[in-house]
């Protein structure tokens, strides 16, 4: 119920998700008409299958190639697999200073910290913007919207100086602390949009019962904005897991490498013969994102449709 009310653009798309929006249904016209419509449909499917196939092919090929002996990667463009070669995975797993699992744990720590930070800090800020009246609200809200579009590079140099002076280089703090301070303003905006769609009567009722703002926030709003929290969680997961630039700058000690910088170290160190294990670890690194995509697609698509995340 709340979903429909709070995400107008997305609910529009989700109710028509299966392409059955009424205006598209062909009117019961003549036979000739329906035949030409069918041909048109076939052409469309053909286009989509070709485009989709070309797009996905490189990914499939990478998966297959990671299960092939190395030399085949340079002369076998097909997807046929004659034997299953797991050595790429075992070699790749132990190719760097630490086993690859070490980097995945590092990434997981940063991801979990970032998710927690975004959920707490962004939802608090969003509650204030969506429900509370305070002086300077308009200006702050405008600033918040502007920071969404601010290029990261403008702040990175002083941020680096700041964090290096505190002694935080080669720790996860520079990657996590900004999230605890709601600097991913995008999610603040997403949650503001969502909270605005929750009926105010609910707050009023709670207030009449004597609840203060912390209580309304925790007991009324937060449980109702679970879909927005889920969207935030999923996007934070994917972005943080893939984040290269931040990790490249702050993590220079191999002990602290997250997956993207570990992969980069792998590329730099590899000889031309280890593409197989490089592919294997690339696939291992994409696996969590792929799983999140499989199970969280609904929230991803909704989030994009309503807010236009990148």
């Amino acid at each position: 119920m709340t979903k429909l009310q709070t995400l107008p653009a997305a609910s529009g798309s989700s109710s028509a998700k299966d392409g059955k929006s009424p205006r598209r249904r062909e009117s019961p016209g003549s036979l000739a008409f329906s035949r030409s419509a069918r041909i048109k449909g076939l052409v469309k499917h053909a286009i989509l299958i070709i485009v989709g196939g070309v797009m996905i092919y490189p990914l499939l090929w990478m998966v297959v190639s990671s299960l092939r002996p190395n030399d085949l990667i340079f002369r076998e463009p097909g997807l046929w697999l004659e034997s299953l070669e797991m050595s790429n995975y075992t070699d790749g797993w132990s190719a760097l200073t630490h086993p690859f699992g070490h980097y995945m744990i590092n990434s997981a720590i940063v991801v979990l910290g970032s998710i927690l930070g975004n959920l707490v800090s962004c939802s608090m800020a969003a509650y204030a913007f969506a429900r509370l009246q305070f002086s300077g609200k308009k200006i702050f809200f405008g600033i918040m919207l502007l920071t969404i579009m601010l290029p990261f590079h403008v702040v990175i140099v002083p941020q680096y100086i700041l964090f290096s002076q505190i002694g935080w280089v080669n720790t996860f703090w520079p990657l996590i602390v900004p999230k605890l301070l709601a600097t991913d303003a995008f999610f603040v905006f997403l949650m503001v949009q969502f909270i605005r769609g929750i009926p105010k009567d609910l707050d009023e009722a709670a207030r009449i019962d004597g609840a203060g703002h912390p209580r309304i926030f925790l007991r009324v709003i937060l449980p109702l904005m679970v879909p927005a929290l889920a969207t935030t969680t999923i996007f934070t997961f994917i972005w943080t897991w893939n984040d290269f630039f931040g990790a490249l700058i702050y993590l220079t000690d191999p002990d602290m490498f997250t997956v993207p910088v570990a992969l980069r170290a792998f590329v730099d160190s590899q000889s031309a013969t280890s593409w197989g294990s490089l592919f294997a670890m690339s696939i291992v690194s994409l696996l969590p994102v792929f799983l999140v995509f499989l199970f969280g697609q609904r929230f991803l698509i909704k989030g994009i449709a309503t807010t236009g995340i990148k």
Partner: protein, 314 residues
Amino acid sequence: MSAIGELSTMTRRKGPLSKEEKKANGRDNKAAYVFLLPWLIGLVAITVGPMLMSLYLSFTDYNLLQPPEWVGLDNFVRMFGDARLHNSLRVTFTYVLVGVPLQLGVALLIALVLDKGLRGLPFYRSIFYLPSLLGGSVAVAILWKQIFGTTGLVNQVLAMVGIEGPGWISDPNTALGSIILLHVWTFGSPMIIFLAGLRQIPVMYYEAAKVDGATTLQQFWRITLPMLSPIIFFNLVLQIIGSFQSFTQAFIVSGGNGGPSDSTMFFTLYLYQKGFGQFDMGYASAMAWFLLVIIGVFTAINFIASKYWVFYDD
């Protein structure tokens, strides 16, 4: 409403406060600032503070070891004479001006094909969307490096039809093109925004047009495109801002040096090299502010131009 839509209505709407706003003014100040506290600290310490600091640093010579030394406009003067910087601007502009329209064009085209009550839409949508989730990762950049290499997948396929392809990423003429292609490959997320937009166009417009005997093409030009123009605008603004900041793909594909012969030396890559390779923090800060100005100008041009082609129904 999108963040951009919200911003533009904020600047458009002027006038006295509404009754509700007046009545409530100042009432929740204390609670509000408590809720906003993390965000406010972040704004000051992580965003605005560093922004001002980097503005200051852009007028200094600073290498992290010695204290910053004021040099006035030296860094900006240096930028004028820096041929590599000019080249990096050319590379970045090419990437943005070719990559963004191409990506949005494909996104719109596929969205149009998908929108017509097609069977299997969720499946297709997933297939098209997946690359945009993976596209920013180092892993996909590694894949790209192989595919467009001398003995990569593309050339293997070309060899099957008897064509001997160049080493796409080792040839300065095609290296940037390969990275642009990677950007186009991630058309899935704008496509989803387009799909949502297409669904919002009232059916009756098309029915009326059909009654009047309008062809499919006419319907597209006269109904779909104008009605979709706010969404196109929104995508355009977002993608341009995002593309100016692209970094990972060029970094990985070129092995971190923007090669071959600086043909993939993005502005951000050069900034990284100056700031974190040579620790020329003053110069890097000046470059960062220059980037901010460029993005600001582009966004402003976008907003001004939008008055002539974006159609608002309200």
